[in-house]
Amino acid sequence: MATEIVTQKKKEPHSFNVNEIRADFPILKEIVHGKPLCYLDNAATTQKPQAVIDTIVKYYTHQNANIHRGVHYLSELATKEFEDARIKVKDFINASSEKEIIFTRGTTESINLVANIFNKAILKDGDEIIISAMEHHSNIVPWQLIQEQKKIKLKIIPIDDNGDIIYDEFLKLISEKTKLISIVYVSNSLGTINPIEKIIEEAHRHNIPVLIDAAQAIQHLKIDVQKLNCDFLAFSGHKIYGPTGIGVLYGKEKLLESLPPFQGGGDMISKVTFEKTTFNELPYKFEAGTSNIADAIGLGTALDYISRIGLDNIIAHETKILDYATKSLMQIPGLKIIGQAKHKSSVVSFVFDNIHPHDAGTFLDFEGIAIRTGHHCTQPVMDRYNIPATSRASFAVYNTEEEVDILVKGIIKLIEVFN
């Protein structure tokens, strides 16, 4: 089995050894309710490698200062580390300039930022925004908040029983009033990988910009924003082995230049008088106040870590785990997988005939298994399938087939007790 490869062997340049990777994540050694932790809640948040933890400790121990205007040693050091992290993000998603990388608190804030500036500068009564039926609440509510001020219409791309968007219906939703298409790359509750290349191409044919919610994609797929040609892309650091509280909004430079600032404050200004303020250049125009410096630097380390392993290796490993989990779970009588799209990534959602997901979650917790149960912040998806909630196992680079076996055994025990 893949996990039994002897670790003492000298590492090949592109070899992938899950045991070596697991050793990088100290939390995976935790014991939960007397059992070794089996962490399968990676779509909620991923664990952090020692390198990321060390970076944050090092920052607060040796480098902490406020950035950008200090002339002293520490301020210059912190500024360099912070700006280096921005370059790492730029390289990771292949943006054309670091001016296109805005640090935020996470995907949610990134989407809210776009919603806010679009509301200020672009949206008028009667305008339309297209999203899909599988959006996370964070890509629904920011647009609904605008509806409290303006008569804009939210058009929803429907999904089929497998959890794929119905592309022909999407085509019908586009009109001359469409001002933005904001869509999730990978669904956090179904695992569906959306055909965003096609969607972006179609949108651009009508000169409509596209925002990609990559919260669940950035850690599982190779993302090249220039190749995708998306106009905005949002993701969170904590889902890609980095710290919480830091995220990214990528935006095309020209578009960002043309749009007004999000929040006002320090760092985002060039000159302030009581009569008039001129705004700072990109990306600082969108980064008011002291940024989350330590966690941005931590995110940079996480991206280095991912790049060292190689996304190709990660994708190959995670695909293997997802396939194995899907096959194993499908064999359990009374269990139904929700979300059987053709292209999926690292998420298996399931329901039982007679067992509520919350009972499953509590029961499995006592087997040391961490899964998520509930609506996964996608209540419209639950309504679509007429279910209150699902149980969701989601995988990351450090998960193994043995952990899938532990999950399956736990579920079989659960069914025995509850039926």
Partner: protein, 151 residues
Amino acid sequence: MDSELKELYQQVILDHNKNPRNFRKMERANHFAEGYNPLCGDKLNIYVELEDGKIKDISFQGSGCAISKASASLMSSIVKGLPVEEAEKLFEKFQAVITGRITEEEDIDKLGKLAVFAGVREFPSRVKCASLAWHTMVAAFKQEEKSVSTE
């Protein structure tokens, strides 16, 4: 099963989950409320027939976990026939036990059959599952039109 888990999922609870009592819609109900737990999406409808300040009949419908279903089932069998005030007092005691404010074995035993829910106190995230039916019933007494939320 782990002992803490056994304490939560006692046989009585598993039994009421599988075969819930009074699990039906009541046509002649004169009080009704809809309960909702936004955390888990659980929905519970409570139907009550009140006569002279007493609970003549009570039933429920909805979807929920074993804890919330068993709680609604046991509650409905216990409060049937009680005056509204007594049912409300019972809820106060029940709430105190499941949130761990009452921990004395003696006091818990006073809850009678409802004592099986004492194990919930070890699971803070499940307290709302156990109390949803009660909150909804109290709302039904007041005939609140809106749906009730545990939040």
